[in-house]
Subunit: 342 residues, 2 copies
Amino acid sequence: MSINRLPTIKEIARKLNISTSTVSRALHDHPSIGWVTTMRVKQLAEELNYEPNFSAISFKQRKTFTIGVLLPNLSEAFFSTAISGIEEFASTKKYNVLIGQSLDDPEREVRILESMKNHRVDGMIVSVSKNTTSFEHFEQLQHYNIPIVFFDCIPERTDVHYSACNLQTGMLKAIETLVAKGITNIALINGPAHLNASKQRQQIYFKGLKMHNIPYDPQMMQTTDLSKEGNLAAMDKLFSLEHPPKAIITFNDYLALDAIVAAKARNMVINKDIYFISFANLPIWSYMNERPLASIEQFPHLQAEKATEILFSLMEAEPGIEVKKPCYQQVIFDSELILHSL
Amino acid sequence: MSINRLPTIKEIARKLNISTSTVSRALHDHPSIGWVTTMRVKQLAEELNYEPNFSAISFKQRKTFTIGVLLPNLSEAFFSTAISGIEEFASTKKYNVLIGQSLDDPEREVRILESMKNHRVDGMIVSVSKNTTSFEHFEQLQHYNIPIVFFDCIPERTDVHYSACNLQTGMLKAIETLVAKGITNIALINGPAHLNASKQRQQIYFKGLKMHNIPYDPQMMQTTDLSKEGNLAAMDKLFSLEHPPKAIITFNDYLALDAIVAAKARNMVINKDIYFISFANLPIWSYMNERPLASIEQFPHLQAEKATEILFSLMEAEPGIEVKKPCYQQVIFDSELILHSL
DNA sequence: TTGTATGCGTTATCAG
DNA sequence: CTGATAACGCATACAA
């Protein structure tokens, strides 16, 4: 047997011969309602197993108590860690989390954003797809007063809220560590040139070299589309050089995995003949035998939590009070170099 | 500058001096509306950037076009793979995905389920928390005609829809493979005894031994609470035996990681002195030097996709038509033994 | 072919 | 302290 309709305040009101407004107020502990009435209402509500209809409330209040989370890929460890943190935070605030994954396809990104907008999410946390170049679809949401906080993959603009990670601290530390070991021929295998993430790494790479008076050799910087083939090709190029690198900084851990395989195929001993330093995506290097010397940790959990915190501060701000000078909350965590004990 | 109110059909109606019903019908390509009117409406809608208000529609239609997904932990690779698949499937059907993680805490599970119910999700996909023993909170949803499809961690009942994985095929194959290599002292490190997942593994383990006429030695079956300490303790016990095992089947990959570390600490060579076979959670064994001989693959992506498919078939079924004999859709995939080339 | 009226469940405003 | 009423945005049965 199954009930089709959940009980409503109307029903409670009818059974108690009082008005719906009284019921509504009683359930909200409104001070103007007498204690007796309040109790009677609450008791019947309990008996009937009454639960407020969220759809109705969302509709009426123009507020859904739902935040949207749009990430490139839910199955990547980095992002699933993040989403786990977001869900935990949101659930303490009694908010729901609606998810979407762009799969790094800008079209999907636009569609999902549209869908989230129509769903009237109260706010969004977004990590921008790798291949996104425009910003209009985000602007549209701002237009409708749906706050967005960007997270990790942030757009190159100053007029946005974000929580991100400063690659510089960890990456310079990485170069410093290598130099301290007497290694100066340090290569960078970077991601696609158009990515913001790649540009950052490149700049810091240059800066790091300069700080240690290491001349920049263009051949020591390769790029890959991050496919396995691309990754191996980049390694091929580096090792066909007259002076191949003694250390390689890789765009991310997945690339590092391929790079390590490639190095081993050349009979090189990891952390002896060749050193790797990578940007952390994977939680399990410690279990692996052949791993980078160190990882540049970006703290997805921290970033995500902070982004959620910012989002809630924005959503909780009185919508009526127009802020004269919009001030953007921008939090940057320092990345850290985590040495893997070997 | 920001607009507070999104355009509504009312607004369109007013600007066009027609009624809201006409607008509504025009936007739905209702055949009774004249071509000209329809076009005029659609054009203005386009101009105004009109988007139907989801909250209002959900409210009116008593349908949210949202499915809820409740899993133990979003950051585990197994589940994030699953959720990625669910999201992909749902998005093709224009459904949204609301997520919740129980963190294996039954109380959280109840709360989240309650929240999903109040949110009037159209259906749910659930992987039951490890520590859940009761079933009432699920029954309640059924009661309100919210279909549930269980996935992977399913309750021990026959009156539910589910998509799960048959561990037997892969696990028997595993034992067979070991026996074919001449190995008969095969241990099992199992999870907590109260888990359904553990019971299954144990039974199949017994069955497998019997099939090959291997006597069961109780000392060869250890359990762990899956903490690092518990895992190492289990290994300690096995290796303090007079005849320690030559092969170990581990409850899951995380346990295998610890077990491999423990074996190495004893100067054993993996896949020579000792063999491991594990239940697959991790996608990256292929990159690891010391890995199990094989993994018992449970196809989270397939399972999740099937669960979603079942859920949609249930949601799309005419709610008016009462099925006389409720028939439960129960799909079981065979697990497969994936040998890791070494 | 189009318009009018109604209701979904809740809250807020006003009036008593 | 409590009740009547309107409103939120949309879809639909009914009327014209």
